[in-house]
Amino acid sequence: MAINPHNRGPLRTISVLVLLIVGLYGLLGAVSTWGTAQRTPKLGLDLQGGTQLILTPKLDKAGQQINQGQVTKAVDIIRARVNGSGVTEAEVSTQGVGDIVVSLPGTPDAATIASLQKSSQLRMRAVLVTGSAAPIPAPAPTATPTRTPTAPATSTPKATGTTTTAPKSGFPPALSAATTTPTTAPTTAPAPAATPTAVPPSATPATGAKPKNASDPAWVTPQLQAAFDALKCTSNPKSVEAIVDDPSKPMVTCSSDGTEKFILGPAEVNGAQIANATSDQQTTQNGSSSGQWEVVLNFNSAGTDSFCTVTSRLVSLPSPRNQFGIVLDNQVISAPVAQASLCAGTASITGSFTAASSKALADQLKYGALPMSFKLQTEDQISPTLGGDQLTRGLLAGGIGLLLVVAYSLFQYRALGFVTISSLLIAALLTYGLVTLFGWSQGFRLTMAGVTGLIVSIGIVADSFILYFERVRDEVRDGRALRAAVETGWGRARRTILISDGVNFLAAAVLYVLAASNVRGFAFTLMLTTIIDIIVVFLFTHPLLSILANTKFFGQGHKWSGLDPKRLGARNVTYAGRGRVTIAARRAAAEGTQS
């Protein structure tokens, strides 16, 4: 069958669209067969039931800023917590400026919610007592609890040099000045005023004795000692979580690997005072790399002062009270020995680090440094029954809306209405495929707001067809033959469609970027359908109309084609010069006045 040469161009355009759709669904089929994608769009919690929590970082000080890196890290921390609580399929994402959205299927218990909100505080506390948490040794500390030296000391290497590495398991690593300012004699720490307590540790504190500073063993009350004795780090991780981390009080806790337990003094440096933490290879004095990994800490000015005070005091204390516990989420992640009084605002932690472990510690120090606890903004529990209801009713609304639009366009545009319908179907096909695909690749979930956006977009997509058709009708009224009318009309409508879709897209994009609520899905679907609208109009509606213009039914303006020149009031073509034709109706008016 010979193809009408006029149709070749349009057919080529349509075949591009067909390729696009086949490609889209091919990809979708491939990833759902061999990958993890589903064949239907992923549904949001409000449609399938579940709980959505929106957490906002709670800041200690007003005017404090949160940067993207901190939020990303916070998301990681929260994700780890959610997964740790045994919930599967939980999703954690950021939204808007700093909000974190946690979506959980089912209903989480209060403890889970509380554990999510919990701050991720990093604090530095002076070590008062250490003990092995390993179950094997007999609990030596029980007999002489307060005598710290008798506690099974974890062979603390007495500060001998800055680069001393701890022999065992990284505990306790040496804390020294950053290698950029190599400290020569760590033991020369003056620590004059800050070491008022050269108190012999044997002194069992009277209960009423007021501790003089954070390293004072007087902090260790019998209650605290009992808690310390009872603490088992290995058996139950929950027991660590239950510990209250009050910065003004001493605390009992475990090391993060569960091998040691500590009694720690009140917090003296907090995470917010750490400006930066990096992992690096240690450099020797002549600047070459030693192959030893270290973590370099930088403090802000407040941090520098307090850190200076603390290290100056610790450096002269006996082991283990010369150690410094870095506590993150109630667990001691590192307890380096202070080897000097460090007042330069930088410090380095050395020890038996590998590249990975030093990086991990640096990250913990840097981002654990968030003064972030979270405020529960909203908690949305959607029962699965209600969600299902919402979906069916939303789809019902969409169906009715579509039907109304179809009816109206058939009424207004007769057979041309079928072009609208087929274009809408193509748009629906593309939308379904893309939404499903985005569900797989971007984790996009269709929420009620998203469904609303899709329904609203039916009207907006159909609008661009109307713009086009009306333009073509205008040209027909001007007396052009249909084929010419379609081309000229398209040339003019195209511009209008592009700018008006552009404005819509802009509105949706601004909403998407800045709106921080579950209505974001609405903006996303609006954005998506605006693009799909342009694709469909360019690759389908216009070529289709060009082809139809060559048919007898449309080309000759059948009464039901919607492009009937008679009904549109165009009776005669009159060339008026300069590439324009006059409107036939004017002539009709002229004839009217004549009679």
């Binding site: 906002t56 808007g96 209060a110 919610i113 405020k375 903004q377 908690e379 529990q381 959607i382 029962s383 029954t385 209600l386 209801d389 919402q390 009713r393 939303g394 609304a397 969409g398 809306g401 109304l404 009424f411 207004q412 929420t447 009620m448 707001a449 469904v451 609303t452 329904i455 609203v456 039916i458 907006i460 159909a462 609008d463 109307i466 009306e470 205008d474 008006s500 404005v503 819509n504 802009l506 509105a507 601004v510 909403l511 800045l514 709106a515 609520s517 209505v519 903006a523 609006l526 009904r567 549109l568 009031g569 008026a576 109706a585 004017r586 008016a589 002229a590 004839e591 006045t593 004549q594």
Partner: protein
């Protein structure tokens, strides 16, 4: 139907013309009254602020079968857990009871309320949705909405100014936009609709839609006025008015088509779903799209015409157009006395060109050989572009 098509044809050809631009004072007055009403509503009655802005708890009990005395029962159920709490109970949709109350201190309390409600209404706890909202939630949403609004306005005025190559169009569009927004919010205040974050998002979406309509009209205005500037037959206002008339059918159609799906959501939302994102969004959109259509026709274009008419070039164009139209009318009056009854100096440019043809058809329609001559044979030279004499250029 056919009359509607006819209507469209007449508007296009200029046979029928509604004076949108010329009677701008009327529209401005109407809008002013609406704006005053909106402001009165906003400051007098105030907005009905939703739970999200106040903070509180909301429970939705689904698939309730027994609605006897449900308000008192729900209040009693909440009262067992939290006596003296302020409880608002509404029936939403066909089988859902919505219970709103103040925020609970702990999740256990809200769980207790949930189970109390479940017992009272004899449904499983599974079919109760609980929603606990901190008061700062709504505030942060509005904060972001305002940021979004400002960004949108800046971007859109830049885009429009770049597209239309004149900042006046973008200003007229923004005036129409502000007008829409204020009236929509005013309607919310007057009708006492609840304002939720979803409605706020709806308001923002209206911005896009209102502009969409305005842009469609302005595109035609630009086309027509360029032509008018070229041939000097119409003043800016007349050309703009013609553009509005020609796009009227289009505006009506696009608005109807955009409103239909929104209306169906509104319908379903109101009768089957009850309050929620869907209803809030669609209500805001429905009101906004309707107001947006009105403003793009009655406000945006007249404002634009007013702005542009002040330009010296446009004043010159107006003079030129008036001269042209007066000349047309004079010629017509002189040559075909009484041939065309309407002799007002064209408020509508199309009238004048019609008369032009009419004159030809009625006046010198025959030649010496008494054979009818095609009108354009005679009108030829007059159809050439008229250049004003050098002194007047």
């Amino acid at each position: 139907m056919s009359s509607f098509a006819e209507f469209g044809n007449d508007l296009y050809s200029g046979k029928r013309s509604i004076d949108f631009v010329g009677r701008q004072k009327t529209w401005y007055t109407v809008s002013l009254v609406l704006l005053v009403l909106a402001a009165a509503g906003l400051f007098g009655r105030g907005l009905n602020i939703g739970l999200e802005f106040r903070g509180g708890s909301e429970f939705q009990v689904a698939s309730v079968t027994n609605f006897n005395n449900f308000e008192a029962r729900a209040k009693a159920a909440v009262g067992t857990v939290n006596p003296g709490a302020n409880v608002v109970v509404t029936k939403t949709g066909t089988d859902t009871v919505r219970v709103q109350t103040e925020k609970f201190q702990s999740t256990t309390l809200s769980d207790n309320v949930k189970s109390a409600l479940a017992r009272e209404f004899n449904v499983s706890a599974n079919s109760i949705s609980a929603n606990i909202i901190g008061p700062s939630w709504g505030a942060s949403v509005s904060q972001q909405a305002i940021t979004a609004l400002i960004w949108f306005l800046i971007l859109v005025s830049l885009v429009l100014a770049a597209y239309f190559r004149t900042w006046k169009m973008s200003m007229a569009a923004l005036i129409a936009l502000a007008h829409d927004l204020v009236i929509t919010i005013g309607i919310y205040a007057l009708a006492g609709f609840e304002v939720t974050p979803a409605s706020v998002i709806g308001f923002l979406t209206i911005l896009g839609y209102s502009l969409y309509d305005t842009v469609v009209v302005f595109d035609k205005v630009r086309e027509n006025t360029q032509e008018a500037i070229g041939n000097g037959r119409l003043s800016f206002s007349q050309a703009a008015n013609q553009a509005v008339n020609q796009t009227l059918v289009r505006s009506i159609n696009t608005s109807v088509v955009a409103l239909l799906p929104v209306a169906s959501i509104l319908f379903i939302g109101y009768f089957l779903l009850g309050p929620g994102t869907l209803l809030d969004l669609s209500l805001a959109l429905f009101v906004g799209i309707a107001v947006g259509t009105y403003s793009s026709i009655f406000i945006a274009t007249p404002v634009l015409a007013d702005l542009r008419e002040r330009e010296p070039a446009m004043k010159a164009l107006k003079k030129r157009a008036l001269r042209y139209q007066a000349a047309q009318a004079r010629r017509e009056g002189g040559e075909s006395a009484g041939g065309d009854s309407s002799s007002q100096t064209g408020a509508d440019g199309d009238d004048s060109s019609q008369r032009d043809i009419a004159r030809v058809a009625s006046g010198g329609g025959t030649s010496a050989t008494a054979r009818p001559i095609h009108p354009y044979v005679q009108t030829g030279p007059r159809n050439q572009p008229k250049r004003p004499p050098k002194s007047k250029r």
